[in-house]
Symmetry: C2
Subunit: 308 residues, 2 copies
């Protein structure tokens, strides 16, 4: 069904069963799909449990780099998901660490713009790194020490970003041999009461403009997170389903990786936006069109309960 058949098809009941029956693996985005903030989407805990009881692989793929995977396990547990294992969680922080260790095989240290989630995953992967903190509050980019062993710059969401961190990253990236990675391309994130916060993609754009270089992006819609899952679990995209709430990240990610895609309407994107991509004359917009649309993943419940 992937490719030409993408139909933005709103499905329910037995149609959902027909889709799930052909899939061995279901990949879920977290924010806007499984939970919103500290509140699980109604029915999501049961959906995850029942899919696993039916023998399906369930994975969680999130561009959020602020937490290490162990904190995700705790959050799943706190929100009532009792059977999610750390190995099933693929965050952009974890996958960035895997990339640096196994793909780039970086020889030297990584300069990090990011936070706790990134630090912890790098530490667990055994990748040496330097936190981008100011060495000394009085220092400027003119007089601060630079580490000659920095071989990569990794940029993620960093709510303690300072000008000095940005400037140091620019200096390191002057060296073309220094890798330039971004955890994810998310431009912004919604907060409460209409407030927003700049995402990793925003900070990456600052560095891309300052250096004239393009970052290698680890998170969705790049395929690297799927490659991590495939290499660890032997998953085949043709019998996998990607379920997400953002057309430009989740749905594009699924399409890029060759999976069928499903938009759920409990998060950012709307059915109207999906339909607008479908109706757009420009062929390059079709890749944002999901194969299927559901109001919520709770719509899975009647059909997977039946199956038991």
């Amino acid at each position: 069904m992937a490719g030409a058949g993408r139909g933005c098809q709103k499905i329910r009941g037995s149609q959902i069963r027909d889709v799930l029956d052909t899939k061995h693996s279901v990949l879920f985005d977290c924010d806007g799909v499984i939970w919103n903030g500290e509140k699980a989407v109604a029915g999501a805990t049961e959906v995850v449990s029942l899919l696993k009881k039916q023998g399906k692989n369930v994975f969680f793929v999130t561009n959020n780099c602020t937490r290490p995977r162990e904190n995700y396990v705790q959050k799943f547990s706190r929100l009532g998901f009792t059977d999610v294992a750390q190995e099933e969680i693929f965050s952009s922080a974890y996958c960035s660490a895997v990339y640096l260790r196994d793909v780039a095989k970086v020889q030297g240290k990584v300069f990090v713009i990011g936070g706790h989630g990134v630090y912890k995953e790098l530490r667990e992967a055994g990748v040496p790194f330097v936190e981008g903190e100011a060495d000394d509050p009085g220092m400027t980019i003119v007089d601060c020490p630079l580490d000659s062993d920095i071989k990569a710059v990794l940029v993620g969401y960093d709510d303690k970003l300072t000008f000095l961190k940005l400037a140091k990253a620019c200096c390191y990236l002057q060296n073309d041999d220094c890798l330039f990675l971004a955890t994810d391309p998310d431009p912004w994130h919604p907060l409460r009461e209409g407030r927003v916060t700049p995402g990793s993609g925003s900070l990456t754009a600052a560095l891309e403009t300052a250096t004239g270089r393009k970052a290698t992006v680890i998170g969705k819609p790049s395929c690297f997170m799927f490659e991590c899952i495939a290499s660890q679990f032997g998953v085949d995209p043709t019998n996998s389903l990607m379920v997400g709430d953002r057309l430009e990240t989740d749905i594009l990610f699924g399409a890029n990786c060759g999976m069928d895609t499903m938009l759920t309407l409990t998060g950012v994107s709307t059915l109207e936006e999906a339909q607008a991509y479908k109706d757009d004359q420009a062929p390059e917009k079709k890749i944002y069109v999901p194969d299927y649309v559901v109001d919520t993943i709770a719509d899975f419940l009647p059909v997977i309960e039946d199956n038991e």
Copy 2:
């Protein structure tokens, strides 16, 4: 000579005299043209004095927004330029203030990412503004106060940038009625010993990515700085010459405004880069080709001394 005739012509002696004879006004970029850091380009003080003695208008157009114009006057004086008046200096900070007061006629306050130079010019222009400082070191974008009277965000070089400033700017720019201005598009600036620092353009890119909006850029290569000069001094672009060291800002600015352009090789761009634009097959690259090239503006000296 503007337009089709752009020839990247290396000129000297009487050729320079022929060019200057047709011009009533000469616009100079500062960094890399008039001075490098705290050192005047050899001969530059005499060039400026002699051009003025010959009755030419001399203007200084700089994207550097870090200093108010009065500090430029002091710097000119300190470096041996004895006859430069504040009115002849058009900085991106000053022109941003003029734009907000006279063009946008902003009704409300301006949220500023920037520094002393921008603050001072806004104050002198009578434009109310809020410094983007953290209200309280412990605050985050979730709980910090926002000012409902903010009607514009102005972004310039800010070596005290924090994440909270960026995040607040994003929140203000959620309102489509809030103007989005950038002092200048400079992506980075060279420092000593191969170090670099992100420029206003880098910080603007972070906000453009986070908000999905495009900033109105005041500095070169936008024409607004020339419009400021033209409105105050009645200058005609067809008898004005723009002299600069950066093809992508100064030369493009001159071309955008309908002036003849001259590249001087005491700064960033090289003759090879100019020639590469000339040789490029893509017609849109021709706009970066200067009409004339000199090694240094000191090459003016023999011909303007002669003229006295």
